[in-house]
Symmetry: C2
Amino acid sequence: MNEVISAATRRLDRYPRSAEWFCDFRYYDVSGLGVEDGVHRRDPSSVIEVDGTFHVWYTKSTGVAEGFAAGDDAKVFPWDRSEVWHATSTDGLTWIETDRALGAGEPGSYDDRSVFTPEVLHHEGRFYLVYQVVASPYRLRSKESIAIAWADDPAGPWTRSPHPILRPAEGGEWLGDEDNHLQVVHTGPFDSLKVHDPLLLPFGGRFHLYYKGEQMAEKFAGGGRATRWGVAIADAPEGPYERSPLNPITNSGHETCLWLHADGVAALLTTDGPERNTVQFARDGQNFEIMAHLADPPVAAGPFREERPTVRGLDGLRWGLSHDVTGPWHYIRGFAADERRKDLYAAGSPPELADLSSPPPGAPGAATP
Amino acid sequence: MNEVISAATRRLDRYPRSAEWFCDFRYYDVSGLGVEDGVHRRDPSSVIEVDGTFHVWYTKSTGVAEGFAAGDDAKVFPWDRSEVWHATSTDGLTWIETDRALGAGEPGSYDDRSVFTPEVLHHEGRFYLVYQVVASPYRLRSKESIAIAWADDPAGPWTRSPHPILRPAEGGEWLGDEDNHLQVVHTGPFDSLKVHDPLLLPFGGRFHLYYKGEQMAEKFAGGGRATRWGVAIADAPEGPYERSPLNPITNSGHETCLWLHADGVAALLTTDGPERNTVQFARDGQNFEIMAHLADPPVAAGPFREERPTVRGLDGLRWGLSHDVTGPWHYIRGFAADERRKDLYAAGSPPELADLSSPPPGAPGAATP
């Protein structure tokens, strides 16, 4: 037995040995939601199927984001002055943008500036959209909240909650009156400035509202932006929601992506933090452990989500929509989990020599097994 | 004080809090080493400067890789039947492929099939290339070794070592005679099948030969391929090299990328394993700790390397060459570390609104400060 081991080998027991949750990802363009000059489409919800038709909701806005320096009449971010739109598809590849689900609210309302980053839940015959809201004026110190709307049909009409169902946490205190989000007396909790990217799951008989928190005077760290996720829990979809005392429940991640798996909740974390690009699982929905480190996972993923929990965890990422925000106009594209390289490897066949350009099994457009 | 914390928060102390080593990466095409139909160029060495001229060495081969099923006369991998070539540049952007540094050896020699993945060291007036070698026939069970060549000028002529300077470790045992690399009686050490991707650094008065090990019957794990790095140490560049008792010294990574930093050694790990996409540092050159988790780092990076240690760690990744192997013909492109987004963030200015399309400071083509 070798007692002399390196620091790296000493860390090895932190990491999952099983490749069960490991996969690659393939990306493909979808029609109807792709690049369009002058239009941002981003932040797709999970995809759900209703009577043989796939549905997705997403953030849509038009025009160039000019930044805060351009004044209160400008559009400051691509997700500013946004609306929530709805598209349908029968094959996951060709999408038709059918209707606007939600626009900004009346002047003076809590959502009069922008509504964005929707997620959907189909539960007991009713459809729920949870989404972000921001009120005018939009400044660096603006707090952002989460609201809910419900409808009996995916095409609406949608009824909005009279108030946000989750607001940023209390406890932070700004220093001075300048619109500078880094100047604070107290930062407050991890979600003191913004609650973002909500996702609603019925779990353990209660409604779990997962969200990304941003903190007043949020810092960069060795893993990038220090965004983390929390969860708030209620007995009814409309609330009232109470934050979990375990918050924050992640130390990484940007847009939320979670699904019911087995007797717990699975999550895909991307973009920010040291556990960026991991898939995680929490039997209690709150104490997440890393299942696999993934290469190049979909950003802002909205996977196809069935109402029953997945049996194989990766089926929660089998295919779906994600966004590409690297160009001037943000757009939505498809993704699919691909286990073929892993399977080839396990079979002793060098995956470098395989043609993996066709859609993987289970993806839209894949050959039927 | 909140005693109720989540599993994720409990892990938080594993991760670096400082953003000192965190950066983004930008990529750019370089002329002379870009896509060329029918030709693979890949695995660039570190870039060195000699009398005002930049030099790089890399793997070059021609023709389609047909796989092992095509028989012993075929080219089985893009790095099979390869040679080591040399290019120069005065600006890092325009490269001229000047000469073949090394071809395959005479039939029957230890390197008669392919020479590839070179790295360079300029030390006390002499140039050293360390590289991989494989002998014919190339089979799934072929062992791959590391050799060295030296010259008094970057253009050669190169003198080869009479034998490899590092061979795969003893201790593994195949099961049966079929050419199947998964069938073993014993796997042996982490580097029992192949020693790959050598990189030579003078450190602490001795020569440290870093390399990637592949194991007989290597497995996939939750972080992907289970490749790890080792180091072998000698008093002279030509050897004899003795493996460190601490091996393996990483639990992740594919192509090696290391440089002298302060009083130790820094490393960029990519592609494989749970610590894929981290930059690490070891004061003793062997016990590496994670300094930052990086997004989208260069694969097979050959950074511009000065002979003196870096003072700021990220200066070891300021710019260089990497490869893109996603298309049918592998090619070499440029990369540059970019700290602008981090700097904007720290200054309170949303980086989403900045135009970061120009080369970052310190990159080829960047505006002079």
